[in-house]
């Protein structure tokens, strides 16, 4: 192996594009347990975060108004694209995280299964958790789950590929858009994962992926008025409580760390129940 390696700079994924951070800063992501640089990553600034939210906010209503069948197909497409990029994911997990071939493949398998799981839920959670309510009067009354809006995902630092895919899928299944700050464990996953989203017919802005330092932007998430909910899957309890207090300003839905995956209630964390009344008469 005498060929000199080209170090890749992983860009951000915002609004369906791959911009560099506006701050121009990058940092090194090293091979696990070594000082060997695996890739250079963008260190997202608060402005990058705001940009992502702005893109996310604009795209979200369109996503929510797509048919459930269409959302379902796009999530299934993500499974297919992940399969198509298996080699890339496996290489990343092997080379950056020191996983074995088998382990890395299992990680990809699980992620694919997760996409498939949520794909199948896109047109079902409404039926399972919606209701026709038998009110005592001449009214048709029904409750349906509706998207909350823009969700910020704070990913765990300990890398768990399937869990990351689970968190993102659960959010977008319900018609929301997401701005995800990837954890420290394997931020370089942004590159192949964003490629998956980019090539899955997903409208730009529905999923935005950022890499960077949680401490740097944590103070601008809880109080961002366009963010309607936060999925806080990171291990940092102090930051969780801090953000929870900030989130009160616009009554964000604050979802704490969940230790389960592939579950209906993970979708329902990011939906609002809307109840509609209408008279029954002539």
């Amino acid at each position: 192996m005498s060929n000199l390696k080209v170090i890749k700079t992983v860009k951000l994924f915002i609004g369906g594009e791959f911009p560099r951070t506006e701050s121009g800063r990058t940092y090194s992501f090293n091979v696990k347990g070594t000082n060997d640089q695996y890739a250079r990553l963008c260190q997202a600034s608060r402005k990058d975060f705001r940009n992502s939210v702005e893109n996310s906010r604009k795209a979200q209503p369109g996503w929510a108004s797509r048919t459930a069948y269409n959302r379902s197909q796009i999530l299934y497409r993500m499974a297919e694209m992940t399969e198509g990029k298996r080699v890339e994911f496996v290489d990343l997990f092997k080379n950056a995280l020191g996983k074995s071939e088998t382990e890395a493949n299992l990680m990809v398998d699980e992620a694919i299964d997760t996409f498939v799981y949520y794909s199948g839920f896109c047109d079902k959670y409404q039926q399972v958790m919606g209701a026709v309510n038998p009110v005592a009067g001449p009214f048709h009354n029904f409750t349906t789950p509706e998207a909350t809006g823009v969700v910020t995902l704070i990913d765990a630092d300990e890398f768990n590929f399937a869990k990351l895919v689970d968190s993102i899928s659960a959010i977008i299944t319900g018609g929301n858009s997401v701005v995800a700050l990837l954890g420290k464990g394997c931020p370089a996953v942004l590159a192949p994962l964003a490629e998956v989203f980019k090539t899955s017919d997903l409208p730009g802005g529905i999923i935005n992926l950022l890499t960077g330092d949680l401490d740097e932007i944590k103070g601008f998430i809880g109080n961002h008025m366009e963010v309607r909910a936060i999925s806080f899957q990171n291990e940092r309890e102090d930051v969780y409580f801090e953000m929870k207090a900030d989130a009160i300003d616009n009554m964000k839905r604050m979802i704490p760390r969940r230790d389960k995956t592939r579950s209906l209630d993970l979708i329902l964390d990011f939906v609002e129940a809307k109840t509609v009344w209408h008279p029954i008469g002539q």
Binding site: P279, I280, G281, Q282
Partner: protein
């Protein structure tokens, strides 16, 4: 808003708004008037007023001149003189007024005219092939003319519901115009037969059409179809009258008929008239009850209010 366009007899067209009504809300609003409670003196006034607003009615196949005469006598003096004397021994009664009109079939008009001569009570005749209206228009007009000639001062016509449901609104309209014309000075009440129009949207449309065509009163029902008058249907018609008044400045009268049997119901209707149209309509000139059994109950309630005692039906004539 959609509308129905009809040709006017003198040329030109007018458009009649097809105004949507929400049934559930209308029912709710109508029922809100049934929980109003009015002052004792007001209630007394209301009971007297209701008598003055009554079109005392008999519309049976077995009606006879004798029966009509009895009814007229009751209309003139709703409380028999001997009974009034007896009751007045103990209590001071305001004189019980006469009813507004006696309402009969065309063949009975001459008998009513005779019985009511000089009393000031109106003679209302149903007409236009009451209650179905299923007759050639020329015959209907003849019938109206005959009634007027015989002395009817008020004509209660029915609209052609068949034509209405067919969407032949021009025919419905033209008939009313023609009947109005045949009425001369007699007042025209147009019966919509709301129980056959079924929807409130239809009631609203028919109300407006009747008013545009020249109705002096619009009336809910013949009494031969169930349901007859109801609070919500009357509310829809009162609101149409209100809107028509706002638009044209013309005050059209209202007559719910059939199904109003108790004084309590009558008071609820009057509360509704008062709140929707105001006190101007609290007059026999603009509001009537088409009823028969109602009269006795009004009298009983007056007796009761005045004396604190209940009187039984059998002391009053059952005409």
């Amino acid at each position: 808003m959609t509308s129905v366009t009809v040709k006017m007899p003198g040329g030109g067209r007018i458009s009649i708004p097809h105004f949507p009504i929400d049934m559930v809300n209308a029912n709710e609003r109508a029922s809100s008037f049934t929980t109003r409670s009015i002052k004792k003196q007001s209630k007394m006034d209301a009971l007297y007023l209701a008598i003055e607003m009554t079109d005392l009615t008999t519309l049976e196949g077995m009606d006879t001149p004798g029966k009509v005469k009895q009814l007229c006598a009751k209309g003139i003096h709703p409380v028999p003189q001997h009974l009034l004397k007896e009751v007045s021994k103990n209590y001071d009664f305001r004189e019980i007024p006469s009813v507004a009109a006696i309402c009969v079939y065309p063949s009975m008009v001459p008998h009513a005219v005779e019985a009511l001569a000089g009393t000031g009570i109106n003679i209302a005749s149903v007409a236009t092939a009451f209650p179905s209206g299923q007759l050639d228009m020329r015959m209907k007009i003849k019938e109206v003319e005959k009634c007027v000639k015989d002395g009817a001062t008020e004509i209660d016509m029915v609209i052609d519901r068949g034509a209405f449901h067919q969407g032949r609104y021009q025919k419905v309209f033209d008939e009313i115009v023609a009947v109005k014309d045949a009425c001369g000075d007699a007042h025209l009440k147009v019966i919509l037969e709301t129980g056959e129009l079924k929807t409130y949207d239809n009631v609203r449309l028919a109300s407006w059409m009747a008013m545009e065509a020249g109705a002096d009163f619009i009336k809910t029902s013949t009494g031969k179809v169930s349901p007859a008058a109801t609070m919500p249907v009357t509310l829809i018609m009162l609101q149409a009258i209100q809107d028509y008044y706002e638009e044209t400045g013309k005050k059209i009268g209202m007559k719910p008929a059939g199904g109003i049997r108790t004084a309590k119901q009558a008071v609820h209707y009057l509360c509704m008239v008062n709140e929707v149209l105001g006190t101007d309509w609290l007059s026999p000139d603009l509001f009537r009850f088409g009823a028969s059994a109602l009269l006795n109950d009004l009298i009983k309630q007056i007796f009761k209010q005045q004396s604190g005692q209940y009187y039984y039906d059998d002391i009053l004539s059952q005409d």
